[in-house]
Structures are given as structure tokens and as C-alpha cells.
């Protein structure tokens, strides 16, 4: 090992609780008590609090950027500001505003229609809903029972209690998010499922496109739908072709 180049990296790895290679572990055992390493360790330890404060600024900006991704809110704010500006002026402006608002609403409804027209929650095929004492059921059974009853908020709260949820659970959780009109959350889950080649990969791809459409990210949805529409074996081949025709 070239100590001059790498020794700080080993200290950083230990500091970050990363696994060391055998060579690194051996180096650490031999050198951890040297003045140089101790000084580096003290530096990193002391750096924590200043970085914690720095992180607040960074994280706040990051959270604000998530807000900018919320399409409905941005739209509502814009229409809200427009409305107050025009209402204070002339009748003509009010009429124009009404037309604009009507146009926006019609456009929004058209967007939403695709999702409500095509979204059909995936049936519960993993866990038959049990009868009897609900208190004896585990979170998976409770979640799937709520899911089957279309009580999606309640289903999501049970899904969240499941430790290390499987791909299957995450797939149904994504469906539940779509069921309560939280496409950003649904998209997060479906994108992961598609990229991890899960059992529900094909199905997830379909729900991923619906989430994208709900988020007004039609171009991305179209790209995925086009690939689905070329694969006759895809579980949502027909739906993809149909929706593609309408969106394009």
C-alpha cells in the first residue's frame, strides 16, 4: 500500500464505519495510535458539529427544491396570484381570468383523466384476506386487507411498519400511493422496482408511466410506453399502445 497517498482514506473509512480490506485493517491496527492518525481522527471528529450546521443550509435548499417539483402546487400558486391581480382590476380582466382558470381546470382534468381512466389497482394475489380477530394479524395481512378494501391510506401506514419490505410489498405500496393520488411517492417505488428487475418489473413499468403522467412528465412516460408497446409479451402491452395513442 502506498501510505502517503491512502492513509487518510483509511482513517476516513474507519470514521465512516466502512468495511476495511484485510490490508487496510492491518494498516489500521499498526498505525491507529500514531500521532499523525490521532490528529486526523481528532480533526474529523471535531468537524462533525460545524458540518451539522452547514448541512442545515444545504438540506433546507434541497427540501425547497422538492417543493418546486410539486406541479399542482406551483400551478395553484400561479393561478392564485393571477386571480388576485385580475380581480382587483376590471371586469374584462375577470372574464379573461375565468377563461384562463377554466382552461387550466379542463387541462388538469384531461391530465387526471388518463390516470383515473387507466389506473386499476393491481389485484391482491399474494395474501388472501383473512377473517377473524384482526388483532392477531401481522402488518402484511393488515396492509393487504386494507389494500383490498381500497383503504389506501391505512394500507400505507401498515406497509410502513413492515421491516425490510420485499419487492412485492413495495409494489403494492406503490399502487396504494397511486390510489390516494401521491404519484411522486409511487414513482419512487416503481422506478426502483423496474431498475432492480423485480418479479413485478413489467407491471411496475406500467404503473411508473401512470405516475409520470400524473406528475405531468408526459415525455418520460411516452418513452417508456413506446418500449412497452414494442414488446408483445409485456403484461401491459395493450394498455401501453392504447395510452400512447392518446398521449402523443
Amino acid at each position: 500500500m502506498n501510505e502517503e497517498v491512502h492513509w487518510e482514506d483509511i482513517v476516513a473509512k474507519v470514521f465512516r464505519r466502512e468495511e476495511l480490506t484485510d490490508t487496510e485493517a492491518s494498516w489500521w491496527a499498526q498505525n491507529r495510535d500514531t500521532a499523525e492518525v490521532k490528529e486526523e481522527w481528532e480533526f474529523l471528529t471535531n468537524l462533525h458539529d460545524p458540518l451539522l450546521r452547514e448541512n442545515r443550509v444545504l438540506l433546507k435548499k434541497q427540501l425547497q427544491s422538492f417543493e418546486n417539483k410539486q406541479p399542482a402546487k406551483a400551478l395553484n400558486n400561479r393561478t392564485g396570484k393571477l386571480r388576485s391581480m385580475f380581480v382587483r382590476s376590471w371586469r374584462y380582466a375577470a372574464a379573461v381570468l375565468l377563461l384562463i382558470v377554466a382552461g387550466v381546470l379542463i387541462w388538469q382534468n384531461q391530465e387526471a383523466d388518463y390516470v383515473s381512466e387507466y389506473f386499476e389497482p393491481y389485484p391482491n394475489i399474494i395474501n388472501p384476506v383473512l377473517k377473524g380477530d384482526p388483532s392477531s394479524r401481522n402488518p402484511i395481512e393488515l396492509a393487504m386487507s386494507a389494500y383490498e378494501n381500497q383503504e389506501y391510506e391505512s394500507a400505507i401506514s401498515y406497509f410502513q411498519q413492515i421491516n425490510a419490505p420485499s419487492d412485492t410489498i413495495r409494489f403494492y405500496q406503490g399502487n396504494a400511493y397511486l390510489g390516494i393520488d401521491q404519484p411522486a411517492q409511487a414513482l419512487f417505488l416503481f422506478e426502483d422496482l423496474v431498475s432492480s428487475s423485480s418479479r413485478f418489473g413489467g407491471e411496475s413499468q406500467w404503473f411508473q408511466t401512470l405516475s409520470l403522467v400524473a406528475l405531468d412528465r408526459d415525455q418520460e412516460a411516452v418513452a417508456i410506453l413506446e418500449s412497452m408497446a414494442q414488446d408483445e409479451d409485456h403484461p401491459y402491452y395493450a394498455e401501453a399502445r392504447d395510452l400512447l395513442e392518446k398521449i402523443k
Binding site: 480533526f43 468537524l47 458539529d49 460545524p50 458540518l51 442545515r56 434541497q62 427540501l63 422538492f66 410502513q160
Partner: protein, 172 residues
């Protein structure tokens, strides 16, 4: 839900997971949505720090803490507008205020104060990479994605340069 919060996506996921419910539950407090979003973000930052520094304190569950901290913050804001009564009643019924005492910043030692001054003199990119690597514990690959670097090697050398520069500033 347990989360390491070691990627931007995990942070975004957790942020959005409870956002709508928080805004709905706090609509009664006569604060506009922008104010409630601002409070939700501040509560999220406190929660994030708890997860990173004292994960054992979040035993009651992430949502419990997030909502508890958020309600405390709402109380603080409303106090200044003399609208405290309704919130206290609500809190008495739901979440005990004492259970969610806000963490207090530790007093920094002289070395840490120098470090903070040093950080202020670094570029925004340097500050960000040091936060992501040494505080958030992101992997080099995740930082590369987050900061749009050309390669992991660029990220690594950037990180090393920034740490070296900070050390120089602290020593000077």
C-alpha cells in the same frame, strides 16, 4: 420506516412520505400553506439530524417525531401571534410536548469555531462535498451523481482538495 438517509432519493422519499399528511393535519392552525411547508422543512431538518446523530432517540418512529417536532414549531410560531390556546389543547390530546424537546446545539470548542470559519471561506461546492461525505456519509458514487461530476475520480480528488484546503485554513 427505518432509513439510513444516505442518498438524495431516500431524503426526497422520506420528505414526501409525510408531507401531505402533515399539511392536512396542520391546516386548522390558521397558518397558510407556505408557512406550514416551511415548518415541515425545519422539522424535517431536526429529524434528519436526530437520525444521523442519535438514531436511538427516534425509537417511537420517524412519523411520530416529525409530527411532534412540527407541532412544537407551530406552537412557537403561533405563540408569537397569540394563538396558543387551541394548539395546546390539541397537543394535550395527541402528543405530549415534553416528548419532543428540541435538541440544543452544543457549544463549539475553539478548534470547531476555527473549522466553521474555515468552512465559510471555502467555495459552496467544497462545503457541499464535505457535508455529503463526512456528515451525510454519502458514498463517492452518490456524491458524483448528486453533484454532477464527470467521474468518481473527479469526486474523490475534489473531496481531498477541499479537506486539505480546510486544514490549511484551520492551521493558518
Amino acid at each position: 420506516m427505518k432509513s439510513e438517509l444516505s442518498t438524495d432519493r431516500e431524503i426526497e422519499h422520506l420528505y414526501l412520505e409525510f408531507r401531505a399528511e402533515f399539511l392536512r393535519n396542520t391546516a386548522k392552525y390558521n397558518l397558510d400553506e407556505e408557512q406550514r411547508v416551511d415548518i415541515y422543512q425545519d422539522a424535517f431538518i431536526v429529524l434528519y439530524e436526530l437520525i444521523k446523530t442519535h438514531p436511538d432517540k427516534v425509537e417511537k418512529g420517524v412519523k411520530n417525531y416529525l409530527f411532534g417536532i412540527g407541532r412544537n414549531m407551530i406552537l412557537d410560531r403561533i405563540k408569537s401571534e397569540i394563538k396558543e390556546r387551541k394548539v395546546k389543547e390539541d397537543m394535550a390530546q395527541n402528543v405530549p410536548i415534553e416528548a419532543f424537546e428540541m435538541p440544543v446545539d452544543q457549544q463549539m470548542n475553539p478548534l470547531q469555531k476555527k473549522m466553521q470559519k474555515g468552512l465559510e471561506q471555502l467555495s459552496a461546492g467544497c462545503r457541499e462535498i464535505l457535508v455529503l461525505f463526512y456528515f451525510r456519509q454519502y458514498s463517492i458514487a452518490e456524491i458524483q451523481t448528486s453533484m454532477n461530476h464527470r467521474s468518481e475520480n473527479v469526486t474523490k480528488s475534489h473531496k481531498s482538495r477541499c479537506l486539505k484546503k480546510l486544514k490549511e485554513l484551520v492551521k493558518s
